[in-house]
């Protein structure tokens, strides 16, 4: 077959362009570590990779939710531990007062009980950011407000929250409720920390009762009424601490699960869209060698032609 000058140069240019394009593609893959960058590189792979990235983003958010809830439950646990300390001290005062006869000693215990009530109100009004821990889903007012008489004795503590609690997602089709209301007398739903109809707890009212009995010097009522009541409050607080602990364990498991899922998704994403660097570099070296050889042979042939023309008389 005749080889015309133009067909030769066109073929040479075409082949060199193909090799240059191939080198460019492989260099891009090697530098980015990806076999897919644009949709046209691998349309099906791109769709799959975008889906995996969506899953990754979701898992990352679930992990962030878990972190937020872990911080929240840590605060709750700390508050409940403080409340338990108050409960223990109040129970101790009640037991101690049972055998006291000195009015001044009883009044001293009454004053300490009043202080403990105020402390407990403060603890129950703890916030996480701008969110009250124990007010249910009411966030624009503090869960508890204490009223006092002219002598500074607490006459009542009013709950301003509600019994509703939020659920939060910690995984695909997996949610958890970490909040507990301060009060729940409905008989269903999350048990109240201070007041709960199912457990018989009514901590603030029981402490006010003790305060009043101490002020009146009524040790009989302290023994027969206050001590059993405070025992129910203590049991309820222990229950709440245990429940929070169980939630925290579940959050730890969710965090671990999210971490495993992230690893798995990263592996899948690399399988779909990652570049096999060893293979890419090998192919790149081959393409570079072929390019150099094409250039050299083209140059040789052009030199031969020049020699032919030079030989003309």
């Amino acid at each position: 077959m005749r080889i015309a000058g133009t067909s030769y140069t066109q073929a040479m240019t075409g082949q060199i362009n193909v090799l240059a394009g191939r080198q460019n593609q492989l260099q891009s893959q090697a530098s980015s570590g990806q076999s897919i960058t644009a949709p046209s590189d691998n349309p099906a792979g791109m769709t799959q990779a975008l889906g995996l990235q969506t899953d990754q983003a979701n898992v990352t958010q679930y992990a962030q939710n878990v972190t937020t809830l872990q911080n929240h439950t840590n605060l709750m646990s700390s508050a409940l531990q403080q409340l338990k300390t108050i409960s223990d001290r109040v129970s101790e005062l009640a037991t101690q007062s049972d055998s006291l006869t000195s009015p001044s000693a009883l009044k001293a215990n009454a004053a300490e009980t009043t202080q403990l009530i105020q402390n407990a109100v403060q603890i129950m009004n703890t916030k996480d950011g701008d969110q009250y821990l124990f007010g249910g889903t009411v966030s624009d007012k503090a869960p508890y407000v204490a009223t006092t008489d002219a002598s500074g004795n607490v006459t009542g503590v009013t709950y301003q929250g509600n019994t509703s609690v939020n659920a939060s997602e910690i995984g695909q089709n997996s949610s958890v409720t970490v909040d507990v209301p301060g009060e729940n007398t409905t008989g269903s739903g999350a048990r109240g920390v201070i007041t709960d109809s199912r457990s018989g707890a009514d901590f603030f009212n029981h402490m006010i009762s003790l305060q009043n009995h101490l002020l009146a010097g009524d040790t009989t009522s302290i023994n027969t009424v206050d001590q059993p009541a405070l025992a129910k409050d203590s049991d309820n607080i222990i229950y709440q601490i245990s429940s929070i602990g169980a939630v925290q364990t579940r959050l730890d498991v969710a965090a671990s699960s999210a971490s495993s899922q992230q690893t798995s998704l990263s592996t899948s994403l690399n399988t779909v869209a990652g570049a096999d660097l060893a293979q890419t570099i090998t192919q790149l070296t081959q393409a570079e060698n072929a390019y150099q050889i094409a250039m050299q042979t083209s140059s040789s042939i052009l030199q031969l032609r020049s020699s032919l023309l030079a030989s003309l008389p």
Partner: protein
């Protein structure tokens, strides 16, 4: 015998014939790098014999014609393949442009954080995950600001993509109009060339260079629109497009016209007849198919995504309560990719975000949680896919269209190269061959000059006999 004077004439004719050979060879060599040139060769024949006493005696050589070496079949195939090449090249160019305007590129090494979000897929994910974050802290102003920020990023991303793809659509329409103008110029040029070629044919010659120019014009025209040709006995070529004859000999019967059928998308018809043309190849049809095919599907898909997003989000959101107890407002305004935006009142005051599902309970997260769950729910208007899934499918579908165009361009490149090689093997200039011919004609010219010098010396001898 011829006689000395006839012998001189024989030598002169030989010189002329070989000189013409050198000239034609020179023409070939001069055009050796001209891809549109078909090599020429001198056709030599024995000049008319003369009756002598010894019978018929030859009188030398004469050039009878300068012939162009070309294969009409290959020329026709090249025109056909030019249409196919033009079609797929314009598809590839249009869709590559669209891919760039869409800006959806994969980064598997990113952290998927808000700061890394670039494409619409990331922005969709970030919106629904911001609702998730809000559900854990419904009263948090920072979480609310995050939701609003992510929503604004998504809306502006959709707006941007819509604007860019719309601008591309306009550019493709302009391209159709420009290409039609170019095609009409080529039709006129072909008619003019037909006229010149016919005149040359009438005078008994051949217009080889004009034929090359006309073939180049036909191939350029075929690259724009698929053409049908018919070669007449006088050497002219009739040209039809879509079954309508536009060039007949040296006359342009009609021309092409781009027009808007009413939907803002340019189509092609004949100017005088007004007949809409169904083009089957060429870059004009490739541009139209890209515009009305993959690009339109992509634009419609983005509009449907935006519309569904606004509808679904607003449907859940409007029942919620903000920190001030307000309710009933919309989260998004607009219902297309170009118009969707975050409610301006909300953008200015995060406390107006209606995250609670219970009046009077600002800490309730029911609406925020429901909004977050929208991200994983199937939407009927999106083919029962999630928002992210639907968008990923749209991206993949578009990618298939461009990938297919890339493959066709590569395949067509191979076909075209093969055809060009075949044609060049017939019509192309081989420098080695022409150099050999040059030497051949040069030697023949030198030999022919010896005839003249010898006959001249013989004449002088004869003349000297008288003196």
């Amino acid at each position: 015998m011829l006689g000395l004077f006839n012998t001189l004439g024989l030598g002169a004719r030989a010189l002329q014939a070989n000189q013409l050979g050198v000239e034609v060879t020179g023409q070939n060599l001069a055009n050796s790098s001209n891809a549109a040139y078909s090599r020429q060769r001198v056709t030599l024949a024995t000049s008319t014999a003369m009756q002598t006493t010894l019978g018929m005696q030859g009188t030398g050589v004469q050039a009878t014609s300068i012939q162009q070496v070309r294969d009409a079949l290959l020329d026709g195939q090249m025109r056909d393949e030019s249409s196919v090449t033009g079609y797929w090249n314009s598809q590839q160019s249009s869709l590559q442009n669209a891919q760039g305007q869409l800006g959806e590129y994969l980064n598997i090494n990113g952290t998927n954080s808000a700061s890394d979000a670039q494409g619409l897929s990331d922005r969709l994910n970030n919106l629904f995950n911001s609702f998730q974050g809000l559900s854990t802290s419904p009263t948090s102003i920072s979480q609310r600001q995050n939701v609003i920020g992510q929503a604004q990023a998504l809306a502006s991303g959709l707006n941007d993509a819509s604007t860019k793809l719309s601008s591309l659509n306009d550019s493709l329409n302009s391209s159709v109009t420009d290409s039609v103008t170019q095609a009409n110029q080529l039709l006129t040029q072909i008619a003019n060339l037909n006229d010149q070629i016919a005149k040359a044919s009438l005078s008994g010659g051949t217009a080889n260079d004009l034929t090359d120019t006309r073939q180049q014009a036909l191939e350029s025209l075929a690259g724009l629109v698929n053409i049908q040709t018919n070669t007449n006995s006088d050497g002219t070529v009739d040209v039809s497009v879509g079954g309508t004859q536009l060039v007949a000999g040296n006359k342009t019967l009609d021309s092409l016209q781009s027009y808007d059928p009413g939907n803002g998308q340019m189509q092609v018809r004949t100017t005088t007849g007004g007949t809409p043309l169904t083009l089957t190849g060429g870059s004009i049809q490739g541009t139209i198919d890209a515009r009305d095919g993959a690009l339109k599907t992509l634009r419609d898909g983005l509009d449907t995504l935006a519309s569904s997003l606004a509808t679904q989000v607003n449907g859940v959101y409007s029942s919620g309560y903000d920190l001030n107890g307000g309710t009933g407002a919309a989260f998004f305004t607009g219902n297309t990719a170009g118009t969707i935006a975050v409610n301006t009142a909300l953008a200015a005051d995060p406390s107006l975000l209606q995250a609670s599902g219970v009046s009077g309970a600002t800490g309730d997260n029911t609406v925020a949680l429901a909004l977050a769950k929208l991200g994983t729910q199937s939407v009927a208007a999106l083919g029962n896919k999630t928002f992210s899934g639907a968008f990923a499918a749209q991206v993949g579908s578009f990618g298939f269209a461009l990938s297919n165009a890339n493959s066709e361009v590569a395949n067509q490149g191979a076909v075209t190269t093969m055809l060009k090689n075949q044609r060049d093997s017939v019509s192309g200039v081989s420098i080695e061959e022409e150099v050999a011919n040059l030497m051949l004609f040069q030697q023949a010219y030198s030999a022919s000059s010896k005839i003249i010098s010898t006959a001249d010396q013989m004449l002088q001898t004869v003349i000297a006999l008288k003196t």
